[in-house]
Each structure stands twice: as C-alpha cells, then as structure tokens.
Subunit: 78 residues, 7 copies
C-alpha cells in the first residue's frame, strides 16, 4: 500500500491543495488538517497561485477556514 | 492530522459558522454543538452579520435552534 | 461538543419540532422518540400551531404517529 | 429517547402500517416483522381499510408477504 | 421483531420470489441463497408461473443463476 | 442461507460472469477474484462467447484485468 | 477469493492504471498507493502511453499527484 492516501495528505499539510467536489466545484487552499474519513480543513492561501500550477483554471480559492466533509470529495491534488 | 476537522469545530463553538448543504442552500448561525458524524446544532445569531464577512451573500440565517444532519453538509466555514 | 445534536433532541421530547426532509417536504409534530441514527417518532400535535412560529409556512402537520428514518432528514428545528 | 423508533415498530406488530418509500410509492399492510435496519415485513391486510384512516388516499395495499429493505423507507405511519 | 426479514427469506428458500429493484426493474426466480446484507441468489424457475400470482405483470424471469447486490433491492415478495 | 452469494462467487472463479452496473453498462469477463464487499476482478476471456449464452446481447467484454468496485454492481450472473 | 481486488492493486503499484469515475470521467496515471477503501493515489506517468493500450481513448492523464476517494471509483483497469 506504499504511499497510502492518508500518508499523502499528511505530507501535504501546510501546502496548497486542489479539491474537486462531487457537485462539480473545485476549490483550492492550504491544507491545515484532515481525518480518516478524508474530511479536510482548508485555510485561505495568501501566496500567489499560478493557475497553471493548479492545473484547473476554474478552481476557486478558499477565503476563510473551511471544513469539507469527506463524502463530497472526488479527488485531492497535492 | 494537525488541525483536524472536529478540532476546528470545537474551536468554533459559540461562533458564527456558515454551512453549505448538498441541496444547494447555505445557512449561517451560531454553532452550539456537533458530534463525530458532523451533525451540527446552530442557534439564531443575534449579532449583526456583515454579509461580506460570510463570504456568501445568499446565506440564510438560522432563526430557531436547528440540528443539521451531517450527511447533508458539503462544507462548514468558520 | 457542548449541546450535542442528540442532547438537543432529548431536550425537545414532547415538544413541537419541524423536520425538513431530503425530498423537499417539511413536516411538524410532537417529538415522542428518537435514536442514535436520528430516526425520529412524531405524534400529532393537538396544540394550535402558529405557522409564524414554525418558521416555514409550507410545513405539514403529522396526523398519526409516524417514524421518520433518519437518513431522510436534512434538519430538525426545535 | 422515550418511545424509540424500534419500540414503536414493536408495538405496531400485527397492526396496519403505511410505509412511504423513497421512489414516491406508499404501501400499506399488516406489520409482521422488522429488524434494526428498519427492514420491515408486511402481510396482506384482510380487514377493510378506510382510506381516510390511512391518511394517504394513494396508498396501495400489499397483496403478498413482502420484505421492504429499510434504506428505501422514508417514513412508517402506525 | 417476530417474523424478522431474514427469517422470512430463510423460509422462502427454494420458492419463487419477486424482487423489485431500485432501477425500476422487477425480476423473479427461485431463491437459492441470501446473506445478512439482503444480497440474494436467484435461480431460473422452471415451473410455470402464473403472472397473476406474481402480482406484477412486468416482472421478468431470471434465466441464469444471478446474484443481486442487496443495496439495489427495494422489496422482495415471497 | 444455503447457497450464499459469496459462496456462489467462490464457485464461479475462473468462469465467465456477466456483471450489470448501476450506470447501465453490462460487462463480462472471467472472474479471477472477489472480496466480501462484492468488489470483483475480471480478466479478459479468450474463449469464444456465444452472446445467447450471456443472456444480454449488449454486454461488453472486459479487455484487461479490471477491478470493479462492489458498490457499482447491480447483479452478477454466473 | 483468489486474486482479491486489493491484491491486484498491490501488484499494480508503480504501474499505469486507468480509473473510471462515477461522474463519467476516466483518468490514468501511475499507481503509487491505495488503502482498504479503494482510495487510490495516482502520480503523473512520464512514459509514453499508447492510447490503444489504455483501451479508452477518452482517458485523461493525471498531471499532479492526486488522491481519488474510493467511493467515486467505478473500476480500475491494471
């Protein structure tokens, strides 16, 4: 199981991640926490984000600390 | 897992939170309780809320103590 | 977790509650029981209900003792 | 939790109950069994049912012993 | 819980049962097995079935041994 | 529970099975593994398949070893 | 249960896999991790992929390390 999903999240703490949701929205922010259900906490990301880096030009920034319930998550790009 | 989702909810008790629901509605109120399923209890918030602060001008205020079942929650902004 | 969801339900026993369902219906009745899945039992409420108090003029009264399965519940206003 | 949902089902054994399903159908029959998932068994009900008593004129009678899987149930009126 | 759902399935082994699925299809066959998730195994039923007996003229016969995953089941008529 | 669903899968190992999916697709291949969630592994089936035998002329063959997650499965015909 | 689904994933580590998602998208990348929920981690795959080999000409490459939550997965072709 090398490089397990939760290990990858642990390694992404304090980094910018892009979260694709089941309702079609994509958001990005700084990963500040998560749990075993893949519930995640995103903080506003003050760094300048190059949208090309995000890989998804439609991604919206998180503006306030937000908990996303894991069952809405399609994927998390780190 | 630093800053885990339930820890963030614990820290937001008695504060105004905005809850986005799977049916597209967004509501806000004062967080008065929660549990491990992310079921939350919101009370009416008597403070004057600056909608700009909420980040979502379509958010509706909770008018009476309301339990929201966790499986309807997309995200909680604290 | 102060004011946890199930504690709020316990405190609402024998009171009128309004239950919003995932299919869009909203019903109200007297809460006579619940369990840890948020399955609830509503009885007909013989008191005169002021719809303004319910907060939702489209809410329909429960006419006979009804068990609502918890996974249909969006929210319960107490 | 007084009057818990499963206790109400226990009390309704051998009585006519009306079950509303997630697909919009409503059926009625004599409750002959249930389990903790709210799976229920309905038998044909030979008594003459006054539809006004059922509260739902669109309810269809169960004609043969039928197991309804609990995750299809919206509500059970006893 | 008298006449519990799984007991009713146990009693229906080797008999013709009609299974209504969430996708709207209804199938019938001889019940040859089941488990606690209400996954069921149906075999082709070589007896002549009187559709009036099935209660559902749209029911389709199972032609080869088929496992139906329980979470697709709305109801099983025995 | 005679002829339980997982026993039927065990007996079908190395045989051609037809899997109907919730999205409407039907695929067939040689069953090379499964687990208790009804996740299944299908391999390409090099034998000549008579579509009449499959019972479903729209079934598509699996071309490379494929894991199907169990919660997508409607039924498995063996 | 020979050739169980998770064993097949274990054997596919560091190889190119194609993942079909419930929203209709299909993506491919190098499998770098997974867990028991079939959450998977895909890395960008720098090798030249012959689309004929993928079996699905609509499959999109993963461009950055991405965690896909298992409940979105229809199938994984290895």
């Amino acid at each position: 199981m090398s490089g397990r999903p939760l290990d990858v999240l642990e390694g992404a703490l304090a980094q910018t991640v892009t979260v694709r949701l089941k309702d079609g929205d994509t958001v990005y922010g700084q990963l500040s926490g998560y749990d075993q259900h893949m519930n995640v906490v995103l903080d506003a990301d003050d760094s300048v984000i190059d949208e090309a880096v995000l890989g998804d030009p439609t991604a919206e920034p998180i503006e306030d600390t937000t908990i996303i319930r894991g069952d809405n998550v399609v994927s998390i790009t780190v």
